[in-house]
């Protein structure tokens, strides 16, 4: 098990950095090339969600991302937003699947982005969980992918 840790201020520009590190560490962990695009997108969505929560709740703490290789390539994204509010917001977003074509008429741009972000996370990653942090404010997104033996 080898680990890479990244911590970044909650600004959109650094989400791109997190995506680059995600692809580099996933490739190094032996994840199949065909899955790298999904990892790039899923890690980007998890980090965008964290940045948006920090901005919304005026939290300046760093967002922490941890990449670990092993039988599975694991990614953990930790934010510092109030967990009850963050999880409530996750549950309240409108799913594009439920809304259907009317989605574009009824939801604001931000609501669309939030709903689509969660749809991408759950749609692209077989193994993803969002849970409250135990020891402090914040939620934790955990994702993992099969890391083929090299």
């Amino acid at each position: 098990m080898r680990t890479v840790r990244l911590a970044f201020s909650p600004t959109p520009a650094h989400v791109r950095t997190a995506r680059l590190v995600a692809v580099a560490t996933a490739r190094n962990a032996g994840v199949a090339e065909g899955v790298l695009d999904e990892i790039r997108l899923a890690v980007g969505e998890a980090c965008s969600r964290a940045v948006s929560l920090h901005v919304q709740h005026k939290r300046s703490e760093l967002i922490e991302v941890e990449f670990t290789d092993g039988p599975r390539f694991e990614v953990v994204v930790r934010d510092s937003a109030p967990a009850d509010q963050a999880l409530h917001a996750d549950l309240a977003v409108t799913s594009p699947f439920v809304a259907g074509p009317a989605f574009a008429e009824t939801e604001s741009e931000e609501e669309v982005a939030a709903g689509v972000g969660l749809a991408l996370l759950t749609g692209l990653v077989d193994d993803v969980t969002v849970a409250p942090a135990r020891d402090r404010d914040g939620t934790i997104v955990r994702m993992s992918w099969e890391a083929a033996a090299r």
Binding site: A13, L41, S48, P96, F103, V116
Partner: protein, 112 residues
């Protein structure tokens, strides 16, 4: 790594060709350009996405916002894209039912 945005006119349509990564960082640029076109009276837009390397939920939100504004003004937004990795994002999110997505700009223009 910045977004490339170029416009050209095809008949009554304005084709906005986007290149690069549309994400939480660059989406405001795309939103600004789409609003500028709408404000300037270009009601029928085709977004050519064939040179888009990456598209996230923020970018999709901006495209949905443009569609909403266009429809309210009696206009249209059609998408042109043939890249499987980008098309997959529309499928996974259910947004392929929200947008008209066409393999080529010509087909998007014909539909819009």
């Amino acid at each position: 790594m910045e977004l490339s945005l170029t416009t050209r006119t095809v008949g009554r349509h304005t084709v906005l060709a986007v290149g690069g990564e549309i994400d939480v960082y660059t989406a405001p640029q795309l939103r600004g350009e789409l609003i500028r076109l709408a404000d300037a009276g270009y009601a029928h837009i085709v977004v050519d996405m064939d040179r888009v390397d990456f598209l996230d939920s923020t970018g999709l939100g901006v495209l949905v916002g443009a569609l909403k504004r266009a429809r309210a003004a009696g206009g249209s937004v059609e998408l042109a894209c043939s890249q499987p990795k980008i098309l997959k994002i529309f499928n996974v999110t259910g947004l392929e039912k929200v947008f008209g997505i066409h393999p080529t700009v010509d087909e998007a223009v014909a539909a819009g």
